[in-house]
Symmetry: C2
Subunit: 212 residues, 2 copies
């Protein structure tokens, strides 16, 4: 399957030409973005929390403390969630205020949590999560102890009812506005990883790893 | 008032030392971030959408087409929302996998939409929105026509039931792990505005404005 099936909830109605259901496209957005927001319903009202995440195969994974209220709510009640992931790519400056826009790639996923208990899946989820933050990192770090594993809850969300929405390219103005003496174009936005700052408590003699 | 009152929903229970209810802190996060996610409940299930926004005085503003399904739902039913805004500031690489973290500043707001009908407030909302995307931009652009105003819906959300959560600084490892030969520190993350890309249809002779 290279496309996710459309459902009523994932069929983009507004600016439908920006919609994508392509699996490779959706996975590339999920694999690039460093955090997501998880929305759920509590006492009939909406709640959301931002959190790190990773994706492998057809599941999205988040993790947290077994003492976290929302992790327990999600896991215990298998609450329906809506998860959103956004990469902001540019500010689209049109000649008219009305046609200002943003270039972006976003994913909206409807799913339900399943608590991960399989040891291999747990281990792989934390490995992928850590290496997503910083490629190469997992090999270097002190791995979780049995007590740390016990304190960590991992939730998996099946990726099935999902869509992406993408805008790219220059502004689109009304025909008559192209004659205006107003500069128009795109200011690209990127998330940049800057020079690493060593921990003030770094042990003497430990040098910065090649992957940084 | 320099602090927002805590409510049951905005009292941070997990890592409470990271919580802030300080008005200036919360407004600085809202004024920096370029988009938010708006979560609401539809047929008992959670939905969220990413969208641009701005803030002035004690309200957060979003805008969209009067034809947009979710704008109409929000405005028509005054649906309770949870709005989340996040600035990601760094990857926190600890010596142990368990203590890996992120530096971030996030805001979670519970509120309800009010459709803005006052002309001055409408105009100011779009002015602030446009200048937030690109400082100085509003002066340059062709202002909305009466038809464009009619096609645009602006929703305001009172900022009152709100909290921020902030992590800064180096990793915090278990005491015995500081002796490990593992590099630890922070990889700072920034959102950068790159060199503007002119619209291929840019009118000959229009030079790039000073604010870009």
């Amino acid at each position: 399957m290279s496309e996710f099936p459309k459902t009523e909830r994932t069929t983009v109605t507004r600016l439908a030409k920006r919609a994508s259901y392509d699996k490779a496209t959706i996975y590339s957005i999920l694999d690039e973005a460093l955090y997501c927001t998880v929305a759920f319903v509590l006492n009939g009202e909406p709640v959301q929390i931002p959190t790190g995440f990773c994706r492998f195969n057809d599941k999205l994974y988040i993790h947290g403390s077994v003492g976290s209220f929302y992790m327990r709510e999600l896991a215990g009640k298998k609450l329906p969630v809506c998860i959103c992931v956004t990469c902001l790519d540019g500010l689209v400056l049109a000649r008219s205020a009305f046609h200002h826009s943003m270039n972006y790639r976003s994913v909206v996923l409807f799913s339900k949590p399943e608590q991960v208990t399989d040891e291999h899946e747990l281990y792989h989820a934390l490995e992928v999560f850590t290496n997503k933050m910083q490629p190469g990192r997992w090999n270097d770090v002190r791995k979780p102890t049995p007590a740390e594993w016990k304190a960590t809850m991992v939730l998996a969300f099946q990726i099935e009812e999902v869509s992406a929405k993408i805008r790219t390219g220059p502004p689109v103005d009304d025909e008559e506005d192209y004659a205006l003496d107003v500069w128009a174009g795109v200011v690209p936005l990127t998330v940049e990883r800057k020079t690493p700052v060593p921990d003030p408590k770094l042990k003497t003699g430990v040098s910065i790893p090649a992957y940084l």
